[in-house]
């Protein structure tokens, strides 16, 4: 990954230093082409996890519960979701060296996998980019107000225009290709770690542990604290499932299955949990939900503005890493059309919707819990279908050559490149989710207070996929499923 791209076509990643680089295509990688051992994967994973979205997650949890229940809900929610996403996309990608969405062809068919990729990877990247760009706008407005004594509204037009600026800067960096993305992200990560530690030290110098545990949730004391605790767990389950689009393609580059699996526990679990708990402590001690409003009250004007500036930059690097992962997925798994699409145009496809969404800051930024819930409604069932398909129905065996055959000849051709059973299972899971937790109003119903929404959605989708595949698909000899 340290080689520079072909100078004749800087946006093209398939040729590096004059030689073909298979890691940037959807070719299956052979073991000698894997570039990350256990610790290298851990470092990348930590870099991905310690981003500003961890602060947003912590602040959202602090709305519902106090410190002890927040810590418990973050560890439980992230733990369960990370276990599942560390298995479902990662183990297929590391075993066969295949791109995450290419692996999905075995479950959804080639066209179906493309629909999943575009809807999940691209739309979620656009939505996350919008959230981070709006956070950038809030942060920079606050910093400018502090430095110049202005009174710009953190939620008004100025913040939207600054958010748009973040999108444009991100696009310019993305258009230059992956090397610049890696360099910018590597530079900012250590500063974020310092900010996380700094917030922790500042909070504990101002409050004792017993004072912190006595703090009430930002949303106030609830008359149903159990329900709030389950809502907090659900929020963290959803936050954990949100890693699904990113992890498979990282695992693909690792040398062993253990190097693909365990670093997720150090990075997207361990580092995310620490950063989110720090976010909870800051949010509760200040009783402020917006992370961009924590720095100046905590660290004073000078250090606060410096920290805020770093947070703003970190939002850009988070947009870059999210955008880059989606662009690689589109370029690799999107077929010949996206393989030929120039890098800058792909960047525009990913970031274009975000450039519109920044002009609706309240709808996006102030509805973080709903936004994460919209992701989980699809991602939890998706993870279940993939896990059931690979681990149970296929017993961890896949004929890689069939993934690359034309639809008419492939065992994974299903019906015109779509497997309706897999999509039906996703729909059943999503319906289960919506019946338990309304994704629009975020109102829980029925058994939610005992089950959460993501876990039943996961179980229902997995069960429907298993039964329907056994009854409708496998007996017809479609899908290359082994006999029982």
């Amino acid at each position: 990954m340290s080689d520079s791209p072909d100078p004749e076509s800087p946006g093209d990643t398939t040729v590096v230093n004059g030689r073909f680089d298979p890691t940037t295509t959807d070719l299956p990688l052979i073991p000698t082409e894997r570039i990350w051992n256990f610790w290298q994967h851990s470092a990348v994973n930590i870099g991905l996890a310690v981003a500003t979205w961890a602060f947003l997650q912590g602040a959202a949890v602090a709305y519902y519960v106090g410190v002890k229940q927040a810590i418990a809900s973050i560890i439980i929610g992230y733990g369960i979701a990370v276990l599942l996403v560390a298995l479902a996309p990662c183990m297929i990608s590391v075993k066969y060296g295949i791109e995450q969405f290419v692996g999905l062809r075995s479950t959804f068919g080639e066209r179906g996998a493309r629909v999943v990729m575009v809807s999940v990877s691209t739309l979620l990247a656009a939505a996350w980019s919008a959230v981070l760009a709006i956070m950038f706008g809030h942060g920079l407005s606050t910093a400018v107000n502090q430095i110049f004594g202005l009174h710009l509204s953190e939620t008004g037009a100025a913040a939207s225009i600054l958010g748009l600026m973040a999108i444009l800067v991100s696009w310019l960096v993305l258009a230059r290709g992956p090397i610049s993305v890696e360099a910018v992200c590597r530079a900012i990560s250590p500063f974020l770690v310092i900010i996380v530690v700094g917030i922790l030290v500042l909070v504990f110098t101002k409050h004792s542990w017993s004072e912190l545990t006595a703090l009430v949730p930002i949303g106030g004391v609830s008359d149903d604290p159990h329900l709030n605790f389950i809502l907090a767990i659900e929020l963290n389950l959803a936050g954990g499932f949100a890693w699904w689009p990113n992890l498979g393609n990282l695992a693909r580059l690792t040398t062993t299955s253990r190097a693909a699996f365990w670093p997720n526990w150090i990075g997207v679990f361990g580092a995310s949990v620490v950063a989110a708990i720090v976010g909870v402590l800051a949010a509760l001690s200040l009783q402020v939900e917006d992370p961009t409003q924590w720095m100046i009250p905590l660290a004073g004007a000078v250090l606060g503005v410096i920290a805020l500036s770093i947070i703003c930059l970190a939002n850009i690097t988070a947009i870059l890493s999210q955008g880059y992962a989606s662009m690689v997925a589109l370029k690799g798994g999107g077929g010949a059309f996206f393989r030929r699409t120039p890098w800058p145009l792909l960047g525009a496809v990913i970031l274009g919707p975000a450039a519109v969404l920044v002009f609706f800051p309240s709808a996006v930024y102030d509805n973080y819990a709903r936004f994460v819930s919209w992701g989980a409604i699809v991602l939890a069932p998706l993870c279940a279908v993939q896990l059931t398909d690979f681990f149970i129905l296929r017993r961890r065996r896949l004929r890689v050559s069939e993934l690359y055959q034309p639809i008419a000849r492939s065992q994974f051709g299903y019906w015109n490149g779509f497997n309706p059973v897999a999509f039906g299972a996703i729909a059943a899971g999503a319906l289960t989710y919506a019946l338990l937790l309304d994704p629009v109003t975020y109102e829980p119903h029925g058994l939610f207070r005992y089950t959460t929404a993501s876990l039943p959605a996961f179980l229902v989708a997995g069960a429907v996929h298993y039964v329907a595949t056994r009854l409708l698909i496998a007996p017809r000899g479609i899908g290359d499923y082994p006999a029982r």
């Binding site: 072909d6 439980i76 299955s257 693909a260 010949a336 050559s401 690359y404």
Partner: protein, 59 residues
């Protein structure tokens, strides 16, 4: 700028080579071994124990 058609040909050629390699009798040598089941058991059991402990602590 390179010709996209040449890129496609190069890609198809590399893909063909790899699929032949994977389909050959020694194809298993080009795969990474499965995650041992014990790893999944350890991760699940630890998570279960930690969850139980945290539920007791947080209530």
């Amino acid at each position: 700028m390179r010709d996209p058609e040449v890129d496609d040909e190069l890609f198809e050629e590399r893909l063909r080579d790899r699929l032949q390699l994977l389909d050959s009798p020694s194809g298993a040598d080009y795969l990474v071994a499965d995650l041992p089941t014990i790893d999944i058991v350890i991760a699940s059991a630890t998570l279960f124990a930690v969850t139980a402990g945290l539920l007791w602590w947080a209530y």
